[in-house]
Subunit: 540 residues, 2 copies
């Protein structure tokens, strides 16, 4: 049996301190449910005394019983000179109804004297009284020793005396916090070991990433005896973020022999990371360890040929263990082996004709030079491969489109598009409005095609990104549009490039539709029958 390390997630509290992150109460409830399902032990829901949104979350959670996770309410000890029983912050923690109370107290003498402006003795009283009071109300109490490592380095005796006060008052857990995030792994290891010899209460670690060492510091603390790790999903948090629980769990469980969650849950790690990112409306980096889109992507020709022979030659773990997958990238650094592997991965039977493969690579290089990027737009790459091997039926072609927008001081902006496309000899001429030029164009195009290809009504766009390629030219520069589409939970991405954002969007829109029609095997035959039935509706 491997030793259990408990996970304490603070995405909903410390995570929302990150720049650009803002979660609604519903967002928080969704994330909490998902964390519970994954096997997180404690979910810190917020600071009930600090704002109404956090209090609303605790109210809401009373209606949502969790399977195994416990909800924790966060807050500070009572204030200087105030008795615990009358402190409004502690009262708010009790009122939240959370079974677990996590309170932070100062353990760095500088903070006590300079930030709190009170005496070292009074600070010990605040810690003791606050914990005793919460224990009297039958709460599990987790004591976060704020700035513990900085405090220990400057005044070890006082820092430890704060922990002892918490222990004597009955804290269930004592968590050592590297609040400023500047500690180094060997310091964390040594300090946790020293504390371990003086404190019997189970210890936790709360690290930040200001030195790019948040994960390393959490692991070092566990090796020195900590049994609880606090962190956030994807490492979001104030400044440079918190320890990334995604990487912490993967390292602890896959490499260090500890046990955190069930093995089948670990295979949900990639999904968990992306789910939280989506709810928080944040882009996760492609190169995020373990779960990033590039984490098991191979670009160099040598790496690709070796990894296809034996994955462990260039992969530290099997991607499936964390629910991720291997990808082979096609780019100017790549050789034929990448392209052939890609064709296979995409289930395109691109015959191993060497001359054809060379020409294909040349074509991809030229388009990448123009600004296309196929690494993030695999559906467009598939279409390119299919087209150049003569296996793509274009199904429809553009005659023309027009877009008109008008805005006056008094009225909201109006966008209208007209589209004229040819489908199997028939001309479809449609008009539509939309919430913007691309949406109007999308609506008019769908109007022209949905009657003929009903499957298009099940597809929708899930993301739309614009990247300026030559930033020195700004609004006159070439832009790359990436569109992500979805149908029945399956996603695909397409790309368009132009100096005109609308033209680039059109190109990516057309690719997104063509890709679905190709995947669904829509053929000209099928088209002909349907056209006859539906063309009247389409044209009116």
């Amino acid at each position: 049996m491997s030793k259990k390390i408990c996970l304490y997630d603070t995405t909903l509290r410390d995570g929302t301190q990150a720049e650009g992150i803002s979660l609604s109460v519903e967002d928080k409830v969704k994330i909490a449910a998902r964390l519970d399902q994954f096997g997180i032990d404690w979910i810190e829901g917020g600071w009930p005394g600090s704002n109404p949104k956090d209090m609303a979350f605790f109210e809401k959670m009373k209606e949502f019983p969790l399977k195994q996770a416990k909800i924790a309410a966060f807050g500070s000890t009572c204030r200087p000179g105030v008795a615990a029983e009358v402190d409004s912050n502690l009262q708010a923690i009790l009122d939240s109804g959370a079974a677990v109370a996590t309170i932070f107290g100062k353990s760095w003498d500088l903070h006590v004297l300079e930030a709190l402006k009170t005496s070292l003795e009074e600070n010990l009283r605040m810690v003791r009284d606050s914990i005793s009071y919460l224990k009297q109300h039958q709460r599990t109490v987790i004591f976060d020793a704020e700035h513990f490592f900085d405090g220990f380095k400057q005044n070890a005796d006082y820092a430890v005396s704060v922990l002892k006060a918490a222990e004597e008052a009955g804290a269930d857990w004592i968590v050592l916090c590297d609040t400023n995030g500047g500690s180094l792994p060997h310091e964390v290891y040594q300090i946790v070991q020293t504390v371990r010899q003086q404190i019997a209460t189970p210890l936790g670690i709360h690290s930040h990433n200001d030195g790019e060492l948040g994960v390393a510091n959490a692991l070092a603390a566990v090796q020195a005896g900590a049994e609880q790790v606090q962190g956030t999903i994807n490492g979001i948090g104030e400044r440079c973020g918190n320890a990334n629980l995604i990487s912490v769990v993967a390292n602890l469980q896959l490499k260090m022999g500890y046990s955190c969650v069930a093995e089948e849950q670990l295979q949900q790690l990639t999904k968990l990371s992306r789910y939280v990112a989506e709810i928080a409306n944040m882009a996760t980096p492609n190169n995020q360890p373990f779960v990033g889109n590039s984490a098991f992507a191979h670009k160099g020709g040598i790496h690709v040929s070796a990894v296809l022979k034996d994955p462990q030659t260039y992969e530290h773990i099997a991607p499936e263990q964390v629910g991720n997958r291997r990808r082979v990238l096609v780019s100017e650094l790549a050789g034929q082996s990448n392209l052939l592997a890609k064709s296979e991965e995409l289930q395109i039977s691109f015959d191993g004709n060497k001359q054809e493969a060379r020409e294909m690579i040349q074509q991809i290089k030229e388009r990448e030079f123009q600004g296309y990027q196929y690494e993030g737009a695999e559906a467009s790459l598939s279409l390119l491969l299919l087209e150049s091997s003569g296996k793509l039926n274009p199904l429809f072609s553009l005659d023309s489109f027009k877009i008109l927008m008008e805005k006056t001081a008094e009225h909201a902006i109006l966008s209208e598009a007209t589209v004229k496309v040819r489908v199997n000899g028939q001309i479809m001429h449609t008009a539509a409005e939309g919430n913007g030029p691309v949406n109007a164009l999308d609506n008019a195009l769908r109007k022209a095609l949905e009657g003929v290809f009903p499957v298009l009504s099940q597809m929708h766009l899930t993301d739309y990104k614009v990247r300026v390629l030559d930033e020195s030219e700004a609004t006159a520069a070439k832009v790359r549009v990436l569109i992500e589409s979805m149908r029945n939970g399956e996603k695909w991405s397409t790309v368009g490039v132009s100096t005109n954002v609308i033209e680039a969007s059109w190109e990516a829109l057309v690719d997104s539709i063509r890709y679905l029609l190709w995947k669904e095997g829509c053929t000209p035959q099928e088209l002909e029958e349907q056209t006859e039935q539906r063309v009247g509706i389409v044209n009116h």
Copy 2:
């Protein structure tokens, strides 16, 4: 005197293996010059045998003498069964003209037997002969022991015998590579210590970030005796990237007492990070340690008030040491102290009227709820603060604009905009074309205003970003447009939100112009005089 740790940058070689990164020869030359200026010891320029672009870089660099950095050419040992003297790869390294040759060889028996398909003895011969041959040609030789840590864990004797072969053949440096990036800091520390006892040649470390431990592993190796760190700027590299030299340097020099670059160079760290990101056309994460835009950004109310009293309470280093700066964020989590500090930072004299400040916070919260984000658009926030305190002269107002776009199968897309604005009672009605709707609008608006405000001709847009806010709605969803503008090297950012991308762009465009006019103190008086002179030109 603190111990010197040498820096080996492989941004131009391993960095370009990252997904989405592609550098032209000119890009590589620019980055090399900047790395030299910063104080990097070795710059790995590429793999001359592998592609023409890399060879072109070495040719180009012969014309650019560097101040202190040495250029290194990368490649593998000779192939199995091939003598060093006739190996085309080694020949390409010599032909590159680089004074330093970095060659990698296998040190994991699995790779020798399975990937190279040769004998363990032949691999030792390849290492020995390749190094001897390069030494005969007066090259400094750095031997990269590929997969050393994985190899050591499975067959320590063989892994060390490879290093001994390199040492006997005269390698100047032996670099231990964690090629798959899966090692843990305590393993790296122990293994480097063990090697240190058997190898006298100076050691280096080459780590990857697959476990989110790239920086920690580099630091652990230095503590165990390594004297050279290989990595990339911003940690770009294949899969999850390489050790981030930015964080490595900052930790080694500011926290661990080693010396890497001159102190004044360390203050260029933030600029270096952003310069390389710009050349590589990659977005750096806001939360990047040390140099990110959020690295010293304070959002929580308690943190803000404490950090204003004493920065070390919530900052692990002074931001100026790495050329970064402190920022106070205004958001729904923030209290009045953030807003007041922000006003001061923005040099807006927003009177400390408490009621006014509360109303302002309320207004910001409401706009954030609608989708605005002021954390990344400080110029728009300034305008909001100025406007609500009655100190902003709007200078011009919109009557109407229209945009027409047309695309046919035969012709490129055309975009035309007309703009009618009122400036000090006069109506300016202009028309312009552009490379897209926003550019046409921008051109027409400038045409209307530049005559009146000549300073606008010096300003240009440097970035244009579109973010879909409610991704489930895709092209019908609300979008946020962020525009970055620049004049004389100074940048500012503005935001617009709408369900229509053009309306959102208009809002951000207008803010970007208003901000500059406010900064430059353009007043209605000045305006009146100029209008009389220029209106004829503007209107024709």
